[in-house]
Assembly symmetry: C2
Homo-oligomer: 359 residues x 2
């Protein structure tokens, strides 16, 4: 069972040293270049760990990077008692989680998420993976870390855009699970971060292998993942998920399940961020990009449908619905009308312009 520790200055205060003491084997701090410099080197010195440095961002999640990290661990003589400490954002946690699950058929790992998105989402639930030419996270496992250490001190220095991207994943969670969280996260991060983490943990514990309930976390992601793919991942995940939540909220309305006033409330909430569809996004590109969605089976597109803010349509425990092309087309038309980009507009809205969203 994964242990969750949430607090302020857990890295600086010596809490990590205490946590690592019960692991008697070799320790390895894995992080990308900048985080190694800022925190990794000092941490590794304090807990007498080796260090492995990853490339920045999604570049860490390639086959070549995976093979490189595995070989480095063998070179270091890491055995089954080894503890891998993943320090970073979602990409780092995804790669290290996968490595931990397959190195000698499984070694222990501790996650130290450094972004809001990783704290509330990527670190929880055991999903990991790498990208292939066919899409993101297509190869991976479900594997639980020994512990997740959420140190809120990282939020102080996190760029505004990064916070906004994390908030988008929290808004999605609120839409499918928790009406109170929807209200709460209008306030400051420290008021709702714990509730958001607990929400995701509750869902994941009820359905760890995603046979039913856990699927609700994919709300906004069918369209969101496709948008990321169309832009070759220049569109940030949070922004893609926000646009996906809008699209799939409209879809829920179009199917007659989500009432119009609630759709309006949702649309209103996202207005401040001023997200726009990426220029490359056409209906044809969207359909093509959806082909390799992990939720697809037998070529049918499946989406999660909401009845209300905080409430998902159960579909007899399947928590997703197969939709026809015609529905997809209606949804896309609405998206283009409301979130289409005019000539000369910048790539992104609020996120790029650094709007302070009072996080």
């Amino acid at each position: 069972m994964t242990k969750l520790y949430l607090g302020e200055d857990l890295l600086a205060s010596g809490f990590i040293e205490g946590l690592c003491q019960k692991f008697t084997g070799k320790k390895v701090v894995i992080a990308e270049t900048l985080l190694q410099k800022l925190y990794g080197m000092d941490l590794a010195r304090r807990i007498k760990a080796e260090r492995v440095t990853l490339p920045q961002g999604e570049a860490a999640k390639t086959f070549a990077s995976l093979q490189g990290v595995l070989n480095t661990l063998f070179s270091l003589g890491c055995d089954r008692d080894t503890l891998l400490i993943a320090l970073g954002g979602g990409a780092t946690l995804d790669l290290v989680g996968f490595v931990a699950s397959i190195y000698l058929r499984g070694v222990a790992t501790i996650f130290l998420p450094t972004t809001l998105l990783a704290m509330v989402d990527a670190s929880i639930g055991g999903k990991n993976g790498i990208d292939t030419a066919f899409g993101k996270n297509l190869v991976g496992t479900l594997y639980s870390p020994e512990a997740i250490v959420v140190d809120k001190a990282f939020l102080k220095t996190l760029p505004c855009k990064e916070k906004l991207m994390g908030l988008m994943e929290v808004l999605k969670l609120a839409l499918v699970w928790d009406r109170d969280l929807w209200e709460l996260c209008k306030g400051e991060t420290h008021l709702w971060i714990e509730r958001a983490i607990q929400g995701k943990i509750e869902i994941v514990e009820k359905d760890p292998t995603e046979k039913g309930l856990r699927r609700i976390l994919n709300f906004g992601h069918t369209v969101g993942h496709a948008l990321e793919k169309i832009t070759d991942y220049r569109l940030a995940h949070g922004e893609a998920v926000a646009l996906g939540c809008l699209a799939e909220s409209y879809l829920s309305f179009y199917l007659g399940i989500l009432p119009a006033p609630v759709l309006n409330e949702i649309v209103q909430r996202y207005t401040a961020y001023d997200f726009k569809l990426p220029r490359e996004a056409t209906l044809k590109a969207l359909k093509e990009a959806m082909r390799y969605d992990k939720k697809q089976t037998l070529g049918k597109t499946r989406v999660v449908v909401i009845e209300d803010i905080g409430k998902v349509l159960s579909c007899e425990g399947n928590f997703c619905l197969e939709i026809e092309d015609e529905v997809l087309e209606a949804m896309w038309q609405w998206m283009e009308e409301n979130y289409g980009r005019h000539e000369g507009e910048p790539f992104s809205g609020a996120a790029r312009r650094g709007v302070d969203t009072s996080l």
Copy 2:
């Protein structure tokens, strides 16, 4: 839970078609070139499956091969409902098991072992993996197939050496678990194959994640794996395990745990096969090769120790013992004296000379 089917002509009789019917998704038969020609093409036609062809033997278990198979499955449009049918020996099952466990975070697989070794050993227990420059099976997962179909018809055309290699794994199982099996497997294969499979299943079910009891299956493998590695895997696995069982039986005797008459009985049993140590095997090479053994922790060598045929020393539930260099050296001296190779002798004994061992 994995279902086991054991019988004659299960592949030819249409049994497989029935079994595959409950899987509604795409099906893919994965096998190496020769087996594809002999059985795979016909099977794929009958169950309307795609085919993926692997290189022969351990070449299937490289990173490049893994990546190639994953990409082929994506190209074929395989989704989460896909069923992978692994047709082959241990190498094929190891690779396909690993692929199934990480493709879209897990798809279903059915194992169709075609060698005795794969039937009694590799197919059972969920261990899979690929090789790295640092050793065999160092990267992998524990993942259970939906079903294992043991078709005894394959044994009829199996080369004598292949049968012998399977028998060596069964003798090991008998040494650590089942005195009656030790006697039984002096007779023909069909008299003991089911008992051998059941024995391994019992052990694995009591300890699926190898925290205790399952470790007894590593008897003979600490030395055996090292010997394989020293010869760059020219030494067959079964032969390496046989030599390993002899070495670790002597070690059990040297530690005062296995009585001399029982050691003699074991040594007698293996005499007919006339296995010899590979020429490259020196004590130095052995120690170096053991460094990356998965059972090693903190640089100490761990071995399974037997008290009698069919009975392992429990070591308070650890089922393995850390040994000192001095013990390893004494064991090696005995091995060289009894199984050393004289100038001009062929690479291998009975196995190479094709001695009929009345299987």
